[in-house]
Amino acid sequence: MKESVKKPVIAVGPFHPLQEEMEFFQLTVDGEIVTDIDVRISYNHRGIEKISESLQYDQIPFLVSRICGICSASHPLAYVQAVEDIAGITPPDRALYVRVLINELERIHSHLLWVGLAGHFIGYDTVFMWAWKYREPVLDLLEEITGNRNNYGNVKVGGCREDIPNEIKPKILKELDEIEKKTEMLTKAVLDDPVLHARLKGVGRLTKEDAIKYAVVGPTARASGVAIDVRADDPYAAYSDLDWKVITQPEGDVFAKAVVRLLETLEAIKLVKQAVKKLPDGPVAIEVKEIPPGEGCGRAEAPRGETFHYVRSDGGNRPVRHKVRAPSYVNVPSFKASCIGEHIADVTITLAAVDPCYSCTERIAAVDSRSNVVMDYNKLLKLSRNKTEQMKKEML
């Protein structure tokens, strides 16, 4: 008697152990040009806003820092600023400087992560390896300061949960000097490469008009000439005491976005050094007894752009309403403007240029409107990397 062998069938859906995030981009193509793009999100909707309504004010920073792994300092900061507005509290100066320190360290490691991913998408795996290697010391520093590589749990209403021991300041400065040298080297290598110029310039262009219509924020907006940055426009923490500049580029293409992020990383290093050197003495938090009725809007410049939190209080110890808006929420829909008319080999890098958290470009498939040929993410990635190879051959 032969036993029938059962073969398991594994479905690879929007959820898969290998994929980092679950979003689905469906491109409609005509030949090799994208004619339409549809985005489906919310495969992993966690109901954070609803959960917030059942938590107390001091529990919520821990909830919102888990919205995103690499904006995990910006969400709690925007939230506590909204609540501090309602209660009319100003945290002590030392807290404001510590907040700058943590948030700028986050910006450095987030941008370096992006540079690595962008390199991977166009076939520059060495850039990928280097960028992620230079990122490690930043994460180590954050672990020493806050106890964690992500989800720092450092802010609370009224200041910071934990202080930075003054003994660690020389180490931070020393590490940053090293990171600055490596970042400058990486910046130069990337920006001087003629193949990268040819591959990324003019690709995935988002015009200034579209940037305003779609209300985009962050490096996505600044690379299209829209000079908005919450740290300068609506200064919070200690940013108005420090010397730094807003980085913009006019072209709006993927290359411009790369330039903005690399130069911002160098500015962030400057900011951390200043924050360490000027760190004032004193307490790092004030006691907050209750939150009066009212409403507050708080925002922070996350690595991807403006993070906005709105909180409404009725005087109790839970918010009546807590609205969270992450920057990718407005940046992702702008694909409609920047992807349509582009070649499919450029889609992965155009989508990555907006820097959706953890590169949601994993979830793309292309559908040819004439023949219904479906190209999945791996084929699109291959197309992108092959295009670079081709360009290299033609140029060298």
Partner: protein
Amino acid sequence: MNQEELNKKLEQISDKLIAVERPLEDRVFLLCESENSYQLNKFLFEDVPLRFVVATGIDAEDCFEVLYHYSYDQTGCIVTLRAFIRDREKPAIESISPFLPGAEWIEREMHDILGIEFKNHPDMRRLILADDWPEGVYPLRKSSS
């Protein structure tokens, strides 16, 4: 425009507002009825002009509210238009997506989680809720636990 000039400009629409609240120098709340929200939003986005940030839908015991948050980046002022939807049985408000594509997603989201209808929305599909989520169940309403 500085803050004073912005405040003056906002006075141009004061006849369509119920009230103006200013809890902080750079946080302004304009209260209005939902019938006027389309015109007021158009004024804020196109005439002032302000940058659209996001909209918040709230289930407020006796009515629904839609708050449209705008930013004036020159001074860091956040201007919030608070529109009251009085009809709790069939809450509806005019969509602003026709002139503001940046509002498309958030209106779809508010429709999903609060059940507010956005009239003339160009593409009203589910955004947040799963395809097989039952009709008529709105998670962010106070009655949903």
